[in-house]
């Protein structure tokens, strides 16, 4: 299958899953009724479609694309198929910001305080990474800086949980950290989407640089690629996408790790081709997973991040096992 055909197929899958995400839910609205209510916006069905399902479906696409694209970019930059977008500490930073917003009660007073605090957390994480990894630093230093910042953010998050004023607050923090797209509004969409789009534009432009990097840093530099600029592109692009995604959806793992890996078989390994395909593949996979949470346990509010981890972790294990056998 040609590359173009794969992209078209993935695009169609996204469109179909987006529609399915709009039409599947616990409120028992029939598909036709749902669509007409979405357009007219009238009655209870109109409210459900416009205020609950539409933002949820848009965020499924946006957050999934963010995770898939930034995962492919991070793997290309670090030249490692086991890299994932959270590696540079932005998702841990965003989670810490969100947790502080819940803990301090800011979130109860003003709902958007949570995503704002999460974005601020991601921003602080990026600033720390760039200070630690320096402007000239190589990929290895970036990984180590990411691990250090993630560890620091995780420790601070644990401290906040530890000092939670009530079991209720602690439970709320824990549930938020599991990651979900339920009960998000169009305000969340408006907040996250600009960052996701800006990040996507930055990362999609890094394709040629990542291609060159597959021959090593020296060869890439000799072919006219500025490694300094490429690193900033990857760090900022990933931080914008993952920061915004975590801010509205919580921590959702494994999508950024697994999607590029799955696509490498059909698209090939060239990073510039993998980037757009992983964006579409991530969008499709996360939307599918979000639909699955509603279908599997409609009454229990199964968290999206729990489901992706349950499916992703065994897949990750089989990937490592295969690498070990080939190695």
């Amino acid at each position: 299958m040609s590359y173009r055909a794969i992209l078209i197929l993935l695009g169609l899958a996204c469109a179909a899953l987006f529609l399915a995400s709009l039409l599947i839910g616990p409120s028992g609205i029939s598909p036709l009724q749902g669509l007409s209510a979405l357009i007219s916006g009238e009655g209870a069905a109109g409210l459900v479609m416009r205020e609950l399902r539409l933002p949820r479906a848009i965020l499924g696409i946006g957050v999934g694309a963010a995770l898939g694209l930034s995962g492919a970019a991070m793997q290309g930059f670090l030249r490692n198929p086991l890299a994932e977008p959270g590696l540079i500490g932005t998702s841990a930073g965003a989670a810490l910001g969100a947790v502080i917003a819940i803990q301090t009660g800011l979130y109860a007073a003003f709902a958007l305080a949570l995503p704002f605090a999460a974005l601020a957390g991601a921003g602080v994480a990026v600033a720390l990474i760039l200070i630690l990894a320096g402007r000239e630093g190589r990929a290895l230093v970036l990984i180590l800086a990411g691990i250090a910042v993630s560890a620091l953010a995780a420790a601070a998050t644990a401290l906040v949980l530890n000092l939670a004023p009530s079991p209720y607050a602690a439970a709320e923090i824990v549930f938020w950290m599991m990651g979900s797209l339920a009960d998000r509004s169009m305000t969340h969409v408006a907040l996250a989407l600009p960052f996701v789009i800006l990040g996507a534009v930055i990362l999609l432009r890094a394709g040629a640089g990542l291609d060159a990097l597959s021959l090593g840093e020296d060869a890439a530099a000799s072919m006219g690629i500025s490694l300094k600029k490429l690193k900033l592109q990857i760090v900022f692009g990933t931080a914008l996408m993952v920061g915004a995604a975590t801010a509205v959806a919580g921590a959702i793992g494994f999508v950024g790790l697994v999607v590029p890996h799955l696509l490498r078989k059909s698209v090939g390994s060239r990073p510039s081709r993998l980037l757009p395909a992983s964006a579409l593949g991530g969008a499709a996979m996360l939307t599918l997973a979000d639909i699955a949470t509603r279908v599997i346990a409609p009454e229990r509010d199964l968290k999206l991040g729990v489901l992706t981890a349950l499916v992703g972790a065994p897949f990750f294990l089989s990937m490592i096992r295969k690498m070990g056998r080939e190695g």
């Binding site: 021959l215 090593g216 060869a219 490498r264 390994s269």
Partner: protein, 248 residues
């Protein structure tokens, strides 16, 4: 094509390359020889502007894309991160030229594959090839860049004898077509036979620069390489055979 004026590269306080002045003109195939640690790799990286240096290099002064169109660099580390196909990998050499994969670029890639004898490898996965085959694919990548000057760091290390000779002949053809090549190598026999000029480096300094028969004297071999060797001009070209070491 390349002019170095008092080029130095420091590691800490210690000069790894020490005040090298030299020129490369069209038609030249220059063998960069010298013992391990003499500064051969660092000289080429400094000349390209890939590391901080003092003094002047005509290439290092250019912006990176313009430089890539003038000079291709073949590092010694043969890194291939992903399972790219041979054709895809060689096509990476076209990156400095922008989007030309369908026109000039495709022809350049085909020509590079042909010169390195890789036509039948087009769809093979580069990471599944043997080390020597990967080296040839990476040389093809540098050729596909179609830069007049090629700087290569021990490109023939680890190749079988036929591939070593073939690679030197590819470089010679590139020079004869109006380009130039600077290649570091340890095989003084191949250097003597194929290079139009030799640069000898010792402890960061360029200690000799001239035709192989002028440079490879008994005295230089003893002082720089600590070896004794036979060097004869025969009807089949220069023949060089190291005989024994003089102690390190």
């Amino acid at each position: 094509m390349l002019e170095l004026q008092d080029l130095s590269v420091l590691r800490g306080e210690c000069p790894v390359v020490d005040g090298v002045t030299a020129q490369v003109g069209p038609g030249e195939l220059i063998g960069l020889i010298g013992p391990n640690g003499a500064g051969k790799t660092t000289l080429m990286r400094g000349a390209l502007g890939l590391i901080a240096h003092r003094g002047a290099s005509s290439l290092a002064a250019r912006d990176p894309v313009a430089r890539a169109k003038l000079a291709a660099w073949l590092p010694q580390a043969r890194e291939i991160a992903w399972g790219l196909s041979v054709a895809e990998l060689v096509a990476l050499g076209r990156l400095p030229h922008g989007r030309d994969q369908n026109t000039v670029g495709a022809a350049a890639v085909e020509e590079a594959l042909r010169r390195m004898g890789l036509e039948s490898y087009r769809e093979r996965t580069a990471t599944h090839l043997s080390g020597g085959e990967q080296a040839r694919v990476l040389i093809a990548r540098a050729l596909a860049q179609q830069s007049p000057l090629i700087l290569a760091d021990e490109p023939i290390a680890g190749l079988d004898p036929a591939a070593q000779i073939a690679t030197m002949e590819v470089f010679a053809a590139h020079a004869q077509a109006g380009g130039a090549v600077v290649t570091s190598l340890h095989d003084l026999g191949l250097a003597a036979r194929h290079c139009t000029r030799l640069w000898v480096m010792d402890r960061g300094r360029l200690v000799a620069d001239g035709k192989p028969e002028e440079v490879l004297t008994e005295q230089l071999l003893a002082e720089v390489f600590h070896i004794r060797a036979h060097f004869k001009i025969t009807p089949e070209g220069p023949v060089f055979q190291p005989l024994s070491t003089l102690g390190l």
